[in-house]
């Protein structure tokens, strides 16, 4: 032990004393001068070392975050911290907000460009991970997991509730129109509109196809890269569904209507559950083939779950696989908010449009549910509140509906009924994405 200490001590002494004693290699020409003059070179060399050191320190400082930080970076880091805080403290979709929040911080650490550090620099590790977002690889994998998690039986038991999922898609198209009026061009507006689908993977998928900064428009300009702002807007509003939806519900649905009890759904046979993914896949993708990557994987995952023979695959899809993809997706989407690219007027407008789209979608669902009630009689009547869960945001909006119904009648359990429009909202927004893609790509 003593020997090791001794060796280390000698070595470190040598290393520290080397420049002082003049052993360094790059000052050999000066040594020759030193033979001419005895006194001069030692002080010269001392100064040179000092200068070198300060120069090195200066250079090091220039590479640090402190030197390169701008207000944008600091604001974005604060936003990242707020995301993490919201996720931990209020439990708003922590599985999304915490990866995204830490991603926002990672993406906004100031650095010197050119060292393959940042997410937008080709060749950096983050850039490779971001590939899955830019090329739309992650969203279908997430859909596979969602399919393997989702129980469509409440939808099969009461097929008319599927229309509520369609009604909420008015949020998509309404926002699309709003974005056009604000001056975005068609593909960008389409990508922004899909925020109203309240479905993170779908939003990323569509924006990676339409507003990816690569496509060239008919008039010669390139579309803007809006994946980051759109994904952040979609995910943050999805997390805020418990805040956005209840006031609209209370505004549009009267107290008596909120107390409507729906008759329990009938039991659905396993055969129906197995037929559903196959038939739904065929019907929906024949109508909207562009949504194939999303809907194909969604129903594939569901068949894995319902077939009863592939429990292992379904189990992987709904646990490990979706977890892995969520981690990668969350962090890279968060990191894509690099301040110099993210803080623009466009992003602010996208955030405003996103909030409006959620409001329109919720209203569309609620009003259509009331409209449907005009034609339904007796105990077939539906509680208009479940219309609000037609925006996807599975299963958060169904939970919000359930909680809201419990407030006006503590014995009215709407969760299972609300799941029906909720999952059909997922299908609906994927179809809407396919339509927008086929019109605009």
């Amino acid at each position: 032990m003593k020997k090791i200490l001794l060796i280390f001590g000698v070595l470190s002494l040598l290393i520290f004393l080397r420049p002082v004693l003049g052993f360094s290699g790059d000052v050999t020409p000066k040594d020759e001068i030193a033979t001419v003059d005895e006194q001069q070179p030692t002080t010269d060399q001392g100064e040179g070392v000092f200068e070198n050191a300060t120069h090195g320190m200066q250079q090091f400082y220039n590479y640090t975050g402190f030197a390169n930080a701008t207000w944008g970076h600091i604001i974005m880091i604060l936003i990242g911290i707020i995301f993490i805080y919201l996720g931990i403290k209020f439990d708003y979709e922590p599985l999304l907000l915490i990866p995204i929040g830490i991603g926002v911080i990672i993406g906004n650490i100031p650095f010197v460009a050119g060292n393959q550090t940042g997410i937008y620099e080709t060749g950096s590790v983050l850039n490779y991970l971001y590939f899955g977002v830019v090329k739309g690889v992650y969203p279908p994998l997430i859909f596979l997991g969602i399919g393997a998690m989702t129980d469509f039986s409440s939808l099969i038991a009461n097929p008319k509730l599927m229309l509520l999922g369609a009604a909420a898609q008015i949020g998509v198209f309404g926002t699309f129109l709003g974005a056009l009026y604000l001056g975005f061009n068609l593909p960008e507006a389409g990508a922004i509109g899909i925020i109203g689908g309240a479905d993170g993977p779908t939003a990323i998928f569509l924006s990676s196809k339409l507003a990816n900064g690569v496509n060239i428009l008919p008039d010669g300009t390139t579309v803007k890269n809006l994946i980051g702002p759109i994904a952040i807007a979609a995910y943050s509003y999805m997390a805020l569904v418990p805040v956005i939806q209840p006031p609209i519900m209370r505004l549009l649905v009267s107290k008596e209507d909120r107390k409507i009890r729906m008759k329990p759904p009938r039991a659905v046979t396993q055969k129906e559950k197995m037929i559903f993914p196959v038939v739904a896949l065929l019907l929906t993708t024949f109508i909207s083939p562009s949504a194939l990557p999303l809907l194909g994987m969604l129903f594939f995952g569901n068949l894995l779950k319902e077939s009863g023979r592939t429990e292992r695959l379904a189990d992987t899809a709904r646990t490990k696989l979706i977890d892995i993809v969520t981690i990668l997706l969350g962090v890279t989407v968060g990191a894509s908010t690099q301040a110099d690219i993210f803080i623009t007027k466009d992003s602010m407008m996208i955030f405003a449009l996103g909030a409006i789209s959620f409001v329109i979608a919720t209203m569309g669902g609620l009003l259509f549910a009331k409209f449907m009630n005009l034609f339904l009689k007796g105990d077939n009547k539906i509680n208009p509140l479940i219309g609000a869960s037609g925006v996807s945001a599975v299963p958060d909006s169904a939970r919000v509906v359930h909680a809201e119904a419990l407030k006006s009648d503590p014995n009215n359990y709407l969760l299972m009924h609300a799941m029906a429009p909720n999952v059909s909202g997922v299908i609906g927004s994927a179809i809407a994405a396919g339509i927008l893609l086929s019109f605009l790509a």
Binding site: L155, A157, G165, F173, F176, R266, M416, A432
Partner: protein
């Protein structure tokens, strides 16, 4: 240029309305077809399937859709909750390895052999 820009903008919004209407129509029709299929198409299919299989294999007794009105999803939920709770409340796993732990006792004159009352006085 300005005029061109304006006309382009107007044209864009016109296209926007077309997409809005056709898109909503398509989404509605897609989900409507799906719901109609599950309302009417599927029961017929299952019925046909039952008729076809009945000839070959008498043992298959399908549960007809909406035959058992009393067995609703809520009943199924109650039963499955009960089973779940029963399975979870079984005896919890305890460590099967038993060891005797040696306890060190502090010396105390109260329990000392030297000061015992049974000592023989010589």
């Amino acid at each position: 240029m300005m005029l061109l820009n304006m006309s382009l903008q107007v044209d864009q919004i016109g296209t926007g309305y077309v997409i809005l209407l056709s898109g909503l129509l398509i989404v509605f029709s897609a989900l409507l077809i799906l719901s109609l299929f599950f309302k009417f198409g599927l029961p017929v299919m299952l019925y046909v399937y039952r008729i076809i299989t009945k000839g070959r294999d008498k043992k298959i007794k399908d549960i007809p859709i909406a035959a058992d009105e009393n067995f609703t999803g809520e009943v199924a939920a109650v039963i499955s909750t009960a089973i779940h709770m029963y399975l979870n409340e079984q005896h919890d796993d305890e460590n099967a390895i038993l060891t005797i732990k040696q306890a060190r006792k502090l010396y105390s004159p109260w329990s000392s052999k030297i000061y015992g009352t049974h000592q023989k006085l010589r």
